[in-house]
Amino acid sequence: MKNDSAKSVELDRNDSVTRRDFLKKSLVGAGLLTLPGLLPGCTWEEFSQKHFSELAPAELEQVLRRLKDQYRRCYGREFQLSATGPLPETAFAYALDLSKCIGCRRCVYACAEENNLSRSDPQIHWIKVLRFPNGSMNPEDAERYYAPDKVPEEGYYYMPVQCQQCANPPCVKACPVQATWKEPDGMVVVDYNWCIGCRYCMAACPYDARHFNWAAPTLPINEINTHTHYLGNRPQEKNVVGKCTFCIQRVREGRYPACVEACPVGARKFGNLLDQDSEIRYILEHKRVFRFKEELNTQPNFYYYFS
């Protein structure tokens, strides 16, 4: 299993060398002529950057360095930007206890801070907390903008929705340029430097989990999280799509996602499906779980349950 995947990566790398040459030859002329006038601030290096999976280790290193420079110039902060690969023997999954969730939105804002999401114009939230009246799970009855003095409210329950990291993700199928894909350890990720911003994946997602950066993000300098991952929470690009990655920058280092840590009632559970002793296995074995919109066969790695 492991050897196979390593091999295929190797092949990709070899293939990429010739592809890169071809690309350079064919695009250098046309690109150089049209670009400088068209795209102020866009360098040739940025324009010609290859797809993430085709970057040789040295090239990836160079890309990370370039991005860090860019962030330093822009925010005046030193960024830690990694591209840690998928963990072996790991299949991430998430579970959320709807009996516990009180709809306080702590997760929403913890996520925005952890992932350097635009604060306003546009305000981007990768987590949406829906309020349902008891007895209904029809999204049309859901309210996202509820604002009572205190939560939980009598007669309602709350259902946070974020990327469900589907095993059969409709967004990945939709993307015309393979800018989004499913990592072997379970996260659906986006190469923000490859996305062309067509927003077809947003139309394809049944969970409203994909978010377009309608403008470059607005980030208060003192709230920037400089601990970042290439496929995760680095400051987003203008006019491309971003999404929840279960905090790839944290979980690939063994930590819990930010929303798990923020939840004051412990409704959010995360772990490795392949680990017999993980919380997630315990929940699957002891609780009655369900998956949102199961009829669409998206096969989420995100389980809801009532305890």
Partner: protein, 193 residues
């Protein structure tokens, strides 16, 4: 066949009494052992942050050292009037959980005492299934590493043990409604690229 099956019917004989005595002796010996909590939870440690005491209240022995122990169930009038017991209060009072002799420890029904940092043992006596889920990291909050050291929260961090119903919170503000066609470029916040 018939006779042998009938012999199952217990008939108390005096000679059996010694077994009973031995059993009782073992039981009482066990009770005399120092309170290590060993019998309840010997296997795993649950790292927790300090228990959520009110400011300056711990150690309790600072005050109680000089007070006479009064084990009579009664309304408290001199101290602790702020505590309103809403936790099966008909059948319970302070000294069911707080140890009468060592106020810095809690007391299990077995009589064994435990420190406040292990209060989950106390709660787990009644709330068995929840305690089971909590140990698995499923009830309540756990932080740290999904693959590595985890930090648990005590039951008391979320539930006031004297009135355990979860206290409603002020929610974080609702998301902004989408504003169409916005031309304004904010200046106070930084936009890259």
């Amino acid at each position: 066949m018939m006779s042998s099956s009938l012999s199952i019917v217990p008939v108390f004989r005096f000679s059996d009494f010694r077994y009973l005595l031995t059993g009782l002796a073992v039981f009482f010996l066990f009770m005399l052992l120092p309170d290590t909590g060993l019998a309840v939870e010997p296997l795993q440690e649950y790292p927790v942050p300090p228990p959520p005491f009110s400011e300056g209240i711990f150690p309790c022995s600072d005050c109680h050292r000089d007070l006479e122990v009064n084990t009579k169930k009664r309304q408290l009038v001199d101290e602790h009037q702020d505590i309103r017991l809403h936790h099966a209060e008909q059948v319970r009072w302070c000294l069911d959980c707080h140890d009468a002799n060592d106020r810095d420890r809690l007391r299990l029904t077995s009589g064994a005492t435990i420190p406040f940092t292990e209060s989950y043992l106390l709660c787990g006596q009644c709330h068995g299934t929840i305690y089971r889920d909590w140990r698995a990291g499923v009830h309540g909050k756990r932080t740290g590493f999904w693959r590595g050291p985890k930090r648990y929260l005590l039951c008391a961090h979320c539930h006031n043990p004297h009135a355990p119903a979860f206290v409603p919170l002020v929610p974080a503000p609702p998301p902004l409604k989408p504003r169409p066609g916005n031309d304004r470029v904010p200046t106070h916040e930084k936009r890259p690229h």
